[in-house]
Amino acid sequence: MSGSLSITSAMADPALLDLPWDVPLEAWPNDTIAALPKGISRHLVRFAHLGGHVAAIKETTAEMAKGEYEMLRTLQRLEIPCVDPIAVITNRTDAEGEELKPVLVTRHLRFSLPYRALFSQTLRPDTATRLVDALAVLLVRLHIVGFFWGDVSLSNTLFRRDAGAFAAYLVDAETGKLYEGGLSNGQRENDLEIARVNIAGELLDLEAGGRVADELDPVRISDGIVTAYRSLWAELTGAESFASAERWRINERVNRLNELGFDIEELAIRTDDAGTTVRIQPKVVDAGHHQRRLLRLTGLDAGENQARRLLNDLDSYRAAYGKESLDEEMVAHEWLMRVFEPVVRAIPVELRGKLEPAEVFHQLLDHRWFLAQRAGHDIPLAEAVTSYINTVLRHRRDEATIIDPPTGAITTAIPTIDTAAVAVVDPDDEGDWRLKV
């Protein structure tokens, strides 16, 4: 290996030095490469074991690798859900001293899935809609911080299960740019149009490969991002006016945003000269309303919808045991010890790579509800856990490290195309799993 290899990394993971940087990525030996399915990509992307993690390694130009590394770090600072940048490696040379391409190394997000891995045989309209809705939320969050993506697509996104919905994570920031003064309407509209066309293209591609359900209309689903984006954007940023007697509408707006998972950090309130009309407009909003509350009460880090679900269970626990008068933190601690942790501990070690604990808990609640419906009475937690593990969880695939590189434009023409899609079974898409229990 060349002595002049240059690694830029905030984490300084020594395991980085063990990877064969003096070999072109396409020729990396199998013992290094994580055996994971490939997709299409604008640059060559492969996955490798790095320490205890899986890392995505992308060969690109030095300038682009550095740009994307910095951009991902900035997005992380802005609390945007995105992949974790690990390092930029330049000055690579092979044994003959020939120059090799610089690479960007990112860490694979555990339990995140490429959209192509979210269905087994065919993609159903409701799954597609949930994916598009998750992407719309991500796009709104990016636009709020002033990030123009420039290549919005399902392929440039990873998805994590989030209590019946999905949470979207940005994977490819190569085309993105951050505007400190915020985005113009034209920039937002352009991203939205790019999203609409790319999603349609991706779904039409699945259709051409016979992988979408008959009733799925790619064009209609792709139009859905426009609607979902616009309504969320309006709710998060729109101004509303009302008579000053109707001040309860301020609380109502705050509650609505909380319900959508956002906190208002700054709200502009103006009254007219006569003091008869009030105009309010959120100025700074923060995603993660339920996540923060759950974290504060229990120390658990979960997806937004998972957090909502867990908090609901916590609230009903509080009500069911008549503990409303007790300190919220104390009850939360008790719930954690008596309800949540016993469930997580009950999962056999070999099944822990299937789903995240919070997702398991969400599914368990659904399962318990279903059992109760069928039996006509409440089911004890322990019984529900056993039933869930044996009839549901055991039959799922491991989702901790299912990977597919991002699909992108083909401007620099080094695509690796592998049409063998990930054939995995997702009970969510095989009809309602409850019917099979």
Binding site: I40, G186, I194, A409, I410, T411
Partner: protein, 366 residues
């Protein structure tokens, strides 16, 4: 197809002290290939994004044809950002890849097929229409991506540094392909680059920007031979034009021990007793025998085969000034030599020392 007009278009970023683009007046003719060029931060990309509808226009207007598009959303402007994030889909044929955006727009099937076929012919992709992208070469895939823009039949193509991520060889190839394709299609094109060589080789006309202000617009030859100010003179051309301070003398300007005669009306327009003189490296005569002219110490000679470039320095008014001159590739001086330089007749550019503006037209010397 249509012309493009910037009418005193201005973009001031929130909190900015000066406009990123300041009162841009620019007309791009129907079918023309116009290159916006300038250093980083000059406002070229902002201008393009204003035309695309991505940047707000704070003052002035933008027209595509006769239509004022200043407040029209990007997707309704009938423009195409070429090479922007065009993915190719593996299960779709080349024809489907090229035509699917029309399908989303609701264009009828026959019309789609006709447009795809037409674009494929232009791009030499007709034999591949039924293939999957996997079976194409890198260059063919790039053409399919262009095809996606072409089938939409936009009024204007916009390209923002499309070659910046390619390696040097592919950049030169693609440069030629884009320029020739644009000429075959005849679609009005606005192309942004920071690379003056790209600008000179591709554009019908070039607009040079600096600090948000249009410096000059003209054909590559206009800009090379008649730069309107010191900035354009120094920016266009590689190696760059030699620019130095020179005192006025009776009937001309001092060039070392020589006096280069300059027309009276040019000198009369100068504001002070000195001017900025510009001479391109190929317009310098190099003599190794002591004589009249500027004495220059040779630092390095870069050999390029038939000719070479001499890099040297001289003392002008007590200040070290670097100078580049083109020399014969076989019989050139060497590092350490002292040579005497004089400008070739008819090729001296004179600029006002204060404003930097060009004085007169081409100046006859010698």
């Amino acid at each position: 197809m249509a012309s493009v007009t910037f009418d005193k278009a201005t973009r001031l970023y929130p909190g900015g002290t000066r406009p990123a683009v300041d009162q841009l007046d620019l007309e791009v003719a129907d079918g023309e290939f116009l290159v916006l060029v300038g250093p980083s931060g000059c406002g070229k990309s902002t201008s393009l994004r204003m035309l695309a509808g991505l940047e707000e226009v704070n003052d002035g207007n933008i027209f595509i044809g006769d239509r004022n598009v200043t407040d029209v959303p990007p997707k309704d402007r009938d423009i195409a950002m070429v090479f922007q994030n065009y993915a190719l889909y593996p299960h779709m044929t080349v024809a489907e890849n090229m035509g699917f955006a029309l399908k989303i727009q609701g264009v009828a099937k026959d019309e789609r097929a006709a447009r795809v076929l037409e674009a494929a012919k232009l791009l030499d992709l007709e034999p591949y229409l039924n293939r999957k992208p996997k079976a194409l070469s890198g260059g063919q895939r790039q053409r399919v991506a262009m095809g996606r823009a072409i089938v939409r039949q936009p009024q204007v193509f916009l390209m923002d540094e499309p070659l910046s991520n390619l390696d040097a060889k592919l950049r030169v190839q693609t440069r030629t392909q884009i320029a020739s394709l644009q000429r075959r299609l005849g679609v009005t094109t606005v192309y942004v680059t920071h690379d003056q060589t790209e600008a000179l080789t591709m554009g019908d006309r070039i607009a040079v920007l600096k600090d948000g202000i249009l410096q000059q617009v003209g054909t590559p030859r206009d800009l090379y031979e008649q730069p309107q100010n010191v900035f354009v003179a120094g920016f266009i051309g590689s190696p760059a034009m030699n620019l130095f301070h020179a005192d006025l003398a009776d009937g001309g300007i001092k060039f070392g021990t020589a006096v280069v005669p300059i027309e009276r009306d040019v000198i009369d327009h100068a504001t002070g007793s000195a001017v900025t003189v510009g001479v391109r490296p190929e317009d310098i005569q190099v003599s190794t025998t002591q004589g009249e002219g500027l004495a220059v110490t040779v630092d390095l000679v870069e050999e390029l085969g038939a000719d070479g470039y001499l890099y040297g320095h001289s003392e002008i008014e007590g200040k070290r000034t670097d100078i580049v001159a083109r020399v014969d590739g076989r019989t050139h001086p060497f590092a350490g030599d002292t040579v005497y330089l004089t400008p070739a007749p008819h090729h001296v550019h004179v600029f006002d020392a204060e404003s930097g503006e060009r004085l007169g037209h081409r100046v006859v010397a010698g």
